[in-house]
Amino acid sequence: MATVDFIVQNQLPMQVVPPDWPGGYWWHWLFFTVVLITFTLIMVMGVIYVERRGLGRMQSRLGPNRVGPFGLLQPVADAIKVLLKENIVPDKADKIVHWLAPVIAFAPVLMIFAVVPFQNGALLADLNIGILYVVAISSVATVGVFMAGWGSSNKYSLLGAMRNVAAVVSYEMPLVLAIIGVVLVAGSLSMNQIVLSQDIPFILFQPLGFLIFFAAGCAEINRSPFDLMEADQELVAGFHTEYSGMKFAMFYLVEYAEAIAISAIITTLFLGGWRGPLLPPWLWVIVKIFVVFFLMVWTRSTFPRVRIDQLMALAWKFLFPLALINLFVTAIQVLVWPDALPWVLIIINIAIMVILVVSWSKFFKLGWGRLEV
């Protein structure tokens, strides 16, 4: 039965409306657009709270706790403050580019959520190439970042933007290769189908893929330890140095919305999306997004920022070859043992991951130790 459904859905060009949806296409579109924008904005506030409190506690302090109960209203207070601030545009800035950059950075992030399933079929557009769409769209945000860096006519902004472009171009490769592993196992590019095929979360089938995707995803969205396009010590604030007021708020929003988007994609690809016992499916998605985001906060508080050459080396010497090997191993497993017992595959894949990471770590040295002068 499942295979029949699967084939039928794959042959459709795209399934925009779930068959049991009461209204027409436009009602579906309006409902999900409003829900997704609200969801993103509220999640951004929640995620900022988690980040600031979690980071505070990991650094043995409390974090914001003055506004509202437990400081829950701190993101609201910050938003009001930043919206009331003066909007300053540098004299020599390229005005149009400077004005357009936050919008171009923000729109694609919202568009990613269009294909994240919150329930079986509950998503704005069930594209049959959902994950490809995500990969294509998420890179557009980089254009916005580069426009911000270029339009500001500020050397720090430009340096930050160029670092961002370099990082995104490099990390796109391992990211996509890690996605292909999942796609091979799931047998579909549609996000909904990928979730449907996860009787066992793919993090167990693709442990190496998960590690690569997580690292590359953190680098894509400028999260620490790969946040050197905003490295405060070197570049003031990176590409948004010259932004203030509402436009800065947009970039701040983009930063966290991207983190949520990557968390949502990891949830969908590796953690079984909306599937889970007891809780309603949409709640499972949100819980899993928060778990993945907490992992990002955890790594951010732990690891120091890498240098730019270390960033490139990690992408090309470590993640890229491992992603290629992971892809080959997955392809062989899918082709040769399509009917293998899942638990056997899980044990084999975890063993392969440990062997690969340990042996690669022998060849690959980040920073070449300490130089005595």
């Binding site: 979690g54 505070g56 506690r57 990991m58 650094q59 043995s60 302090r61 409390l62 706790n65 003055r66 509202g68 109960p69 437990f70 955890w298 790594t299 508080s301 732990t302 690891f303 990471v357 340990v358 770590s361 022998k362 690959f364 040295k365």
Partner: protein, 166 residues
């Protein structure tokens, strides 16, 4: 063959941060929760005792900043010096405590308080009665162990951090 770099350092670091997350934070919420400062602190003010002061001006001579200004006149009837003005510019004071150590008559003390910021530069210049000891201006036990005994013992950490809830 030693395996040194295989990510064990990353995992160790992650365990350290998660332990910090689960234990109590070590900060105090300042305006509501205060720690007792050292009993021998050299605070931002000078306490002067008019009765013990003989107007010898040893403090003014030892002050490396020249922040103490003392004007005396001769009281012929009682046959002694009388202090007319005792003025300290606490803006110049570097809290070295040399004046307190130098005073031969134990008439000078460092202050125990610490929130002594002023809005105007002129407010930092204090004279005569402003320098006397009062409940708002307790004396520190610096160089005066008999004063230090009466002060509360220093606390380094508040036992349990309680968040302020509105």
């Amino acid at each position: 063959m030693k395996f040194e770099r295989y990510g064990i350092g990353l995992i160790k670091g992650m365990t350290v941060t998660i332990q910090h997350l689960l234990r109590h934070p070590t900060v105090s919420q300042f305006p509501e929760q205060r720690l007792n400062i050292s009993r021998r602190t050299r605070g931002n003010e000078l306490i002067w005792n008019r009765e013990k002061c003989t107007g010898c001006a040893t403090c003014a001579k030892t002050c490396p900043q020249g922040a103490i200004e003392i004007v005396t006149s001769t009281n012929l009837a009682d046959n002694k010096y009388e202090v007319e003005t005792y003025r300290v510019d606490t803006g110049y004071c570097i809290q070295c405590g040399l004046c307190v150590e130098a005073c031969p008559y134990d008439a000078l003390f460092m202050g125990y308080s610490f929130e002594r910021a002023k809005y105007r530069r002129g407010d930092l210049v204090q004279a005569d009665d402003e320098l006397l000891e009062s409940p708002e201006r307790p004396a520190s036990g610096y160089f005066h162990p008999e004063v230090a005994e009466k002060l509360p013992e220093q606390t380094l950490l508040i036992d349990k951090i309680v968040e302020k809830r509105k």
